[in-house]
């Protein structure tokens, strides 16, 4: 067995990591999953609470799910005073993280509200079904349905249908990449971009990076193995035969996709699969921007918001969004 010395964590991120280690969560296993999920929708402030005092309005909606599937809950955020009669603005459709097995859209209301406020766009934050109760393709079909709904209701939402970006972190980044593949293959609505934050793309767990963060860091190898097993089942969990809409790294062709923004930490297990995804897009002549932040662990911007690294990462995201959305 080869040893894989990990890229060390950046000094300024260590306090956040130490704080997490000082208050350890029970290990996430198939058995502990229901307990972990309990109260997930109340861990973070509700939308209405979050926008109080800010120039952002929010609305809860229930929209149709994929054919034959339950309806979906979404939360819409828009600049105060923006309605269908206003000049149309771009939209961001966000898919939350959590390994495709935990999490709730409210965990990322903050990320969406910040962008709605700073860019003057409409945000749609999507609740999708989680594995293992709802294995592939439930989650990704929910997320595609939410994207299509946003495009089809652009006029009602005051959204420019030519300027819709899908986005997400971790599992949400994987879903955003998958939705971009589906939009291409199904000749779906126009997609202006895919903003992939430390995306979970490769089910094989076979890169150097995936071995370097075994037992250390914020989203570790064991968790990733568990998550893919729940999404894909034991047989396909690590298989190169897994479907591309589950694990976008499996897509044979990355040509003709919406422009991609791919951001990841240098000190996390998704590093190499994310770099590879960008490289494969470029090789087809497609547009992608790649940022690999020095010494950054998975989800560093969420866990260590008040750091130079996070400020720089948010500035790069903001710049790319302004470029692809013409803001």
């Amino acid at each position: 067995m080869t040893a894989y010395p990990p890229v060390p964590f950046a000094d300024e991120l260590l306090p956040a990591l130490e704080a997490m280690n000082a208050a350890p969560q029970p290990p996430l296993t198939e058995e502990s999953l229901p307990h972990t999920r309990d109260g997930a929708d109340r861990m973070f402030p509700a939308a209405a609470e979050l926008v109080a005092g800010r120039a952002v309005e929010t609305e809860e909606r229930v929209i149709p799910g994929p054919a034959g599937s339950p309806e979906l809950e979404i939360t819409i955020f828009r600049p105060a005073g923006h309605d269908a009669a206003s000049a149309p603005v771009p939209a961001l459709v966000n898919y939350h993280g959590g390994g495709m097995i935990v999490g709730h859209r409210s965990w990322e209301h903050g990320r969406v509200v910040d962008l709605v406020e700073s860019l003057g766009v409409v945000g749609v934050n999507v609740e999708y079904r989680l594995a293992p109760e709802h294995p592939y393709p439930a989650g990704v079909e929910d997320n595609y349905a939410a994207f299509v709904w946003t495009a089809e209701h652009a006029a009602e939402l005051g959204v420019d249908p030519e300027r819709i970006v899908v986005m997400g972190g971790s599992a949400g980044g994987g879903f955003a990449a998958a939705v971009a593949l589906m939009a291409r293959d199904r000749k779906g609505p126009a997609l202006a971009g895919q903003l992939l934050i430390c995306p979970m793309l490769d089910n094989t767990n076979s890169t150097v990076g995936s071995y370097q963060y075994d037992g250390i860091g914020t989203w570790q190898r064991e968790l990733n193995l568990l998550a893919w097993r729940m999404v894909l089942g034991a047989e396909l969990a690590s298989s190169t035969d897994a479907p591309a809409y589950a694990a976008p790294s499996r897509a044979e062709d990355l040509a003709g996709l919406a422009p991609a923004f791919i951001e990841v930490g240098a000190a996390e297990m998704f590093r190499d699969e994310d770099v590879d995804y960008a490289s494969r897009i470029w090789a087809t002549g497609g547009q992608a921007e790649l940022h690999v932040w020095g010494g950054a662990f998975h989800g560093f911007d969420m866990y260590a918001p008040d750091t130079e690294l996070t400020r720089a990462a948010l500035a790069s995201r903001d710049s790319w969004l302004r470029r692809v959305l013409g803001l």
Binding site: Y4, V7, A266, G285, V292, A315, S316
Partner: protein, 334 residues
């Protein structure tokens, strides 16, 4: 060599196209081929403003010095750029200019030293290294390494913190900065606090996808790169014994190097070799930060400074410098 048609290139950001056109008209007027190197060198010299003009009325001073070259080689010209107001233990930057290892002077790299001296009070040293083909590899990288040794040995005299010296360069200067870092590791030389590799020229083999995507298009295309590497390595090029100090992509392993910052355009020859170099540093457990900017041509941030993507690239680089040189915004008081 492959005879396949060139793969489809990543398109340019429309906001960068005017800067690219200006770059091609100003810098690459003459295609770089073996028989046009000298003509290019003469032309290139005319586009670099003299140091006095670069400094103008800024509160900085410069000093030309002659320092020892590598053993058995001529002395080196260096130019020191620093704030007029001296500080103790300032960060130091060794600047290595670009120009494909065949063109340019140290004053092509001094704008960066001026910028950093103004912003962070750095003391910069720009080194004049020998060019190919008159001086094939490793002359250039040995010159740059000798300059680093001199810089580190004279840190106290220069008012520089020897623990905070970085090496920095763009294009050929990026490749040489990587080469100097490899030499410092291998020889137990000066400890570098970082290596800033801006669109670095790392690989003599010219065989990546991106090196074939920009064949006859863009700034520093495949053919220019081909000319330059042949000038540097001659018959040794593509061989098994190319020195990693000359072509850092040839290094067998990339552990134990100073923290690296690598940036490159998504729409240029050096994209894939830069990404590969970063990936190999990470695989060794080393520290590297990588930024590949969408639709960006070789040298975009300098020639299209007003474009949104260039401003973002400059900000990201600046953030790494703050983190690496320890000039973070003030710490919260205890």
């Amino acid at each position: 060599m492959t005879t396949d048609a060139a793969p489809i290139p990543v398109p340019y950001d429309p906001a960068l196209e005017p800067g690219l056109a200006a770059f091609l008209e100003l810098v690459e007027r003459i295609p770089l081929r073996a028989d046009t190197i000298l003509a290019n060198r003469a032309h290139f010299a005319t586009v670099i403003p003299p140091i006095e003009a670069q400094l103008g009325e800024l509160p900085l001073e410069f000093e030309h010095r002659r320092v020892p070259g590598p053993a058995g080689a001529p002395d080196l010209e260096v130019t020191i750029i620093r704030p007029r107001e001296r500080a103790e233990a300032a960060p130091g930057v060794l600047s290595i200019h670009g120009g494909g290892l065949v063109l340019g002077t140290r004053f092509f790299g001094t704008p960066e030293l001026i910028e950093l001296a103004l912003r962070y009070g750095t003391v910069g040293v720009a080194v004049e290294y020998r060019l190919a083909p008159e001086h094939p590899g490793p002359a250039a990288v040995e010159d740059c390494y000798a300059a680093l040794e001199w810089f580190a040995a004279h840190a106290a005299e220069l008012g520089v913190d020897p623990e905070r010296i970085i090496v920095s360069g763009a294009s050929a200067g990026g490749g040489l900065s990587a080469g100097v870092s490899l030499l410092a590791r291998g020889r137990g030389g000066p400890r570098l606090a970082g290596q800033l590799l801006n669109c670095p020229m790392l690989d003599d083999r010219n065989e990546t996808v991106s090196s074939r995507q920009y064949d006859g298009i863009g700034a520093w295309d495949r053919n220019n790169n081909d000319t330059a590497w042949t000038a540097v390595l001659g018959d040794r090029r593509f061989g098994d014994d190319v020195s990693p100090a000359v072509a850092p992509a040839r290094a067998a392993e990339l552990g134990g190097l100073p923290p690296a910052y690598l940036e490159v355009g998504a729409a240029e020859v050096f994209r894939d070799e830069t990404v590969a170099y970063a990936s190999r540093i990470w695989a060794a457990g080393g520290q590297a930060e990588l930024h590949v900017w969408a639709g960006a041509y070789h040298g975009f941030s300098g020639f299209s400074p007003e474009a949104i993507v260039s401003r973002a690239a400059n900000e990201a680089r600046d953030s790494w410098l703050r983190r690496t040189l320890g000039v973070l915004p003030s710490e919260p008081s205890a």
